[in-house]
Amino acid sequence: MDRVKSFVTAVFRDWMLLVGLILLATVFFMAASAPFLFPQPPDTMMGPPLQWPGQYPGAPLGTDGLGRNILAGLFYGAQVSLLVGFASVTVAMVFGILVGAYAGYYGGWIDNLLMRITELFQTIPQFMLAIVVVAVLGPSIQVIIFSLAVVSWPAIARLVRGEFMVLREKAYVQGCIVAGMSDRRIIFTQILPNAMSGVTVMSTIMIATAILMESALSFLGFGDPNVTTWGTMIGMGKNNLRDAWYIMTIPGIALLLTALALNLVGDGLNDYLNPRLRSQRGH
């Protein structure tokens, strides 16, 4: 009976991972196919304004207050979300891994100094800091990626530091030191690969957070004015809350499903990469 139960649980778990991967693949497909399916830029007027979904054949999901095709906006918005999410977390990973690895490996005053700086960045309210960076450097995709990386790296640094502090004491690392291997080589070729599973899981979930934060910046009007994003679409739809609520509802659902997909994949990866923790987590 227990075996049946655990089998069902495992299928359910894999089923969630499967759903996550399918959703994520859909978003990637939308981003990649946008220019081919919708040759016109998403901010061009494609039909009469405020057409409800299914009302106007040229725009299956309707048009917004300026007659722009909402479906086209969704496809092009996927590009921005994925680009900003993956790029900002990649930058944050590089920086966070560097800081965390050196702090955890060397310990002592280096660790103390680096961790104080990390804490400093965690003390400033994240979203406020992101807004200020964007406001100061100007709203462009590059600046938004940078600003989200600035608020994301401390979490990675702390995780990597923790892993390094544990792994550093392992016999195989001590062996490398005795064998005369350079610190840099030990850090990057011996310890880092063993610390990567936690970082991978965390970064998947951080991509979701970054995508949500980018959309929030765009929603407030601090996004790149030259691109259509899901956040700007929601911000625009806010003005038609009463008479055309579908305008802000549709991109919101797209955001929700994308974040859900990344979280499902993160959970699935975690079970796959850390099977020992499987019994403790789970849902």
């Binding site: 139960k5 003390t123 400033i124 309210p125 800091l129 929030a216 929603f219 802000m248 955001l255 979280n263």
Partner: protein
């Protein structure tokens, strides 16, 4: 059982205060230079609002605000003013900055407090329920909803709530903190504000509710498998009492720490919630300051927010030691 008496951790407090002061200084300096990188300054923005780009007028404005001084003396002036809590004057809002922020603070604190309360209570109730029915349908349902909420954009859920509860159902007001035209006083005013508070507090809490449910659930599952629970169960204590009195106390401890680290994020999220609901708090003020390019005001809000986070974290650390006497404060 008598509570363990312990001395008040003065040494810990002193050390943390010094760290906090140093962190404040570093944050103030970072913010100052960050904002100095901005293209254009308050004088240009003001001149733009007045509909002129006359260089003489801009220079005059600059001298008036001290923007023509060398950078280091500007920083020094900023830091000394900060130390005496004199944050200057906002020419955009025609009000002293400290007065401006203080007048907005109660609204934000109320919103944050309500949101934290909802997230913590909801997290405990749903988390404990999920753990008690682990891997059965109540657990599956709660965990799935938590997973959905975790990925929901908070400002979007706010808009959807306005649409459903205010526009369609008419249960709550759409925005604002109180019905100013009704001139409510006393108890009526409290009820009116509470009525306005429900939606923004809910919207603000959603994301953290999702986190706390997962956290409490995981903590409960761990504690429920321990020996002392088996002993309590053998004594014939009801499952509900077992969960809420025996297990929860131990499972809730990590939650206190997490709430503490989330305080800064609650404050940052207030920018969104307050903008969506026209809630007259610090977050909304920050949004306005950003659009008006009121640099000094912006700077003051950022620095004060960080100060708030530092103090809040210190309180949480002390609180944690009171709840859990096995923690040693160093």
């Amino acid at each position: 059982m008598k509570p363990i008496r312990r001395r008040f951790p003065w040494a810990f407090l002193g050390k943390r205060l010094v760290y906090g002061a140093l962190a404040m200084l570093a944050i103030a300096i970072i913010n100052f230079f960050l904002l100095k990188l901005a293209p254009g300054d308050a004088a240009e923005a003001l001149a733009g609002q007045a509909g002129t780009a006359d260089p003489e007028y801009i220079a005059q404005l600059r001298a008036q605000f001290g923007l023509d001084q060398p950078l280091l003396s500007q920083l020094w002036a900023f830091l000394t003013r900060l130390a005496t809590l004199d944050l200057g004057y906002s020419h955009v809002f025609n009000e002293r900055v400290s007065t401006l922020i203080l007048s907005r603070l109660p609204a934000t604190l109320m919103l944050m407090g309500a949101a934290i309360l909802i997230a913590v209570i909801g997290g405990i109730v749903f988390g404990v329920t999920a753990a008690r029915y682990a891997n059965r349908w109540p657990d599956r349902a709660i965990s799935f909803v938590a997973l959905l909420l975790y990925g929901t954009p908070p400002y979007w859920i706010g808009l959807m709530m306005i649409l459903i509860f205010a526009v369609w159902l008419g249960w709550t007001p759409t925005s604002g903190m109180e019905n100013v035209l009704a001139f409510h006083t006393g108890w009526d005013r409290v009820v009116d504000i509470a009525h306005h508070l429900i939606l923004p507090a809910l919207a603000q809490s959603i994301f953290y509710l999702a986190i706390y449910i997962r956290l409490v659930r995981a903590g409960m599952l761990e504690v429920l498998s321990l020996d002392f629970i088996r002993v309590a169960r053998a004594k014939g204590i009801s499952e509900r009492r077992l969960a809420y009195r025996h297990a929860l106390r131990n499972a809730v401890l990590p939650l206190v720490t997490v709430v503490g680290t989330n305080i800064g994020n609650f404050l940052g999220g207030a920018v969104l919630t307050e903008t969506v609901f026209s809630w007259p708090g610090v977050g909304r003020l920050m949004f306005d300051a950003m659009f008006q390019r009121d640099l000094n005001l912006l700077l003051s809000i950022l620095v004060l927010s960080s100060l708030f986070v530092i103090v809040a974290n210190l309180i949480v650390d002390l609180l944690y030691a009171i709840i859990n006497p096995t923690v040693e404060l160093k």
